[in-house]
């Protein structure tokens, strides 16, 4: 009883209150802020604008969030008309529309593919240093531009959700339209289903005679944001319409089908991604 009285006496004293009140208030404020931060995205509009400036050199304001099948993107509107998309969870730059970097020099003739690749790689690396460990998976000229894409491929040959793509103008060397993804891999990427077995499953889902367009291992995230290791397969075939042909028309077109086959179970899980 004496001890209780002493405690009440101490707490009741002015000295005790001057210590206790700031501690309690600080704890409430910090706890509340942490709770709010845990609920919302990690990156706010101001932070997204700062990232756009720092990573891509675009000065502007973030005013809206762009929804998409792969999650939201904060959109930063550059003062020069460029647009930058920033991942609100990670701060990763997912896209830049408009010229990323002007040409360093006037070209007297068009760039060769290798020269364009070197310029593109340097530009991507300045935004996304992780490109250094990625493989070149696309190198193609479309209209007046070269298009490159690098992707991280792990030791099992799995295409990971970590890639960067960019276009380069062949005549000036200017770079733009950067897009990328950088998602940590949370699952085991060793497949149980072999390529041959996956091909058998895929062929069972398309008409006889369909040709394989591609078949590759990929880490995909479904609608519930859960990662799955899949065989990503695409098959195409020619459809004919006998009725049309009987009436003198050609009646042929190319049909195709894209499938996701769980690389652990062999199950067709395509529907989970749409």
């Amino acid at each position: 009883m004496k001890a209780v009285k002493a405690l009440v006496g101490r707490v009741g004293s002015i000295r005790a209150w001057t210590i206790a009140v700031p501690i309690v208030v600080t704890a409430l404020v910090v706890g509340g802020a942490l709770a709010v931060a845990g609920e919302g995205p990690a990156i706010d509009y101001d932070e997204a604008a700062r990232i756009a400036m720092e990573k891509v050199g675009v000065a502007g304001r973030a005013t809206s969030t762009v929804p998409g099948p792969k999650g939201d993107m904060i959109e930063v509107s550059g003062e020069d008309g460029r647009i930058v998309w920033v991942d609100p969870d990670t701060g990763h730059v997912r896209g830049v529309i408009g010229e990323l970097r002007a040409a360093d020099r006037d070209l007297r003739s068009e760039l060769t593919t290798s020269a364009a690749q070197a310029l593109a790689f340097a530009a991507v690396r300045s935004i996304n240093p992780a490109v250094t460990g990625m493989e070149l998976v696309r190198c193609e000229r479309i209209n007046s531009s070269f298009n490159f894409m690098w992707q991280r491929v792990d030791k099992n040959g799995v295409m990971l959700p970590q890639w960067a793509a960019i276009g380069v103008e062949a005549d000036t060397g200017a770079m733009g339209s950067y897009t990328s993804e950088s998602e940590p891999v949370e699952i085991d990427t060793k497949p149980i289903l072999s390529r041959r077995r996956a091909q058998e499953v895929a062929k069972g889902l398309v008409p006889d005679g369909a040709l394989e367009a591609w078949m590759r291992l990929q880490v995909m995230r479904d609608r519930n944001r859960r990662q799955t290791l899949v065989w990503y397969a695409a098959y195409s075939w020619t459809e004919t319409d006998p009725t049309a042909q009987a009436r003198g028309h050609n009646g042929t077109w190319t049909a195709s089908r894209t499938m996701f086959i769980d690389a652990k179970t062999g199950e067709d899980v395509t529907a989970r991604f749409y």
Binding site: M175, R257, T258, Y274
Partner: protein
């Protein structure tokens, strides 16, 4: 009395015999059709229809039916639409679109160079048989499908014929584009770009890395949301008045 009777009959005969041009209807707000097929690639329809609200918010009355027949599509496109967005099958080798028609198939071709006198006969329709009065209202036609920019030896070129019949701007693709979800997401991005940015439709040479236009916006939106896998969609061709913006909502003025 007799004179009035004669005048009336003459007026009726004159009105009846005067050839009346078949004109499209201009609705207010302007109509847009987002036509998609879930046949072979169910994701395309699901995804592209997510973009319709953005186009509605841009001032258009949007209809986004799935698996519309060739006849209905032709009718709406010719007579009512300002915007025509198509995501589905293109005819092998170019010059046509392929539709599900009940249990069979239907077609819209640019023309028939082998039998140019053929009339439209369900389920076969030819853009060449339409009048400029019908298609002159069409501001934009986008055909997201295989070979839709190619010139077929028999069925011609969809882009050139659309332009010749009055569409202000027409866009098609130069190769087979594998039907994962990407064409649908491309369409979503396009409609998002109209609402959010009101960028010009395209720049002269199709895809270009430095463009700030709707097509580049749509392409980048697709890349950022589809794992960057379907870059075949970068290879498109644009014909016509590519520098136009689609807001405010309006009909074409060919």
């Amino acid at each position: 009395m007799r004179r009035i009777f004669v005048l009336t009959v003459t007026a009726i005969l004159w009105l009846g015999l005067t050839p009346v041009a078949v004109l499209g209807t201009q609705h207010n707000p302007p109509w847009a059709h987002v036509i998609s097929q879930d046949w072979g690639a169910p994701a395309v329809s699901t995804q592209i229809r997510w973009g319709s609200p953005w186009l509605r918010s841009s001032g258009y009355t949007v209809y986004d039916p799935i698996n519309l027949s060739s006849g209905s599509t032709y009718g709406y496109w010719m007579n009512d639409d300002s915007l025509f967005l198509y995501a589905g099958h293109g005819f092998s080798g170019g010059g046509g679109l392929v539709f599900p028609n009940g249990g069979g198939y239907g077609y819209i071709y640019a023309e028939d160079r082998l039998y140019p006198w053929l009339p439209n006969s369900d389920p076969y329709y030819f853009l060449a048989n339409s009048s400029t009065g019908q298609m002159g209202d069409n501001l934009l036609a986008v055909f997201i499908g295989c070979d839709t920019a190619k010139t077929g030896p028999r069925y011609g070129n969809l882009l050139d014929m659309s332009r010749a019949r009055g569409t202000d701007c027409a866009i098609g693709w130069n190769r087979e584009i594998i039907l994962s979800d990407s064409p649908g997401i491309f369409g979503m991005g396009f409609m998002r770009g109209v609402w959010d940015r009101n960028l010009p439709i395209d720049s002269p040479v199709g895809y270009h890395p430095n463009d700030a236009d709707l097509m580049a916006y749509a392409y980048n939106y697709m890349m950022s949301n589809s794992g960057g896998m379907d870059w075949r969609l970068a290879d498109w061709t644009t014909r016509g008045q590519y520098a136009q913006k689609l807001r405010p909502a309006r009909y074409g003025a060919w």
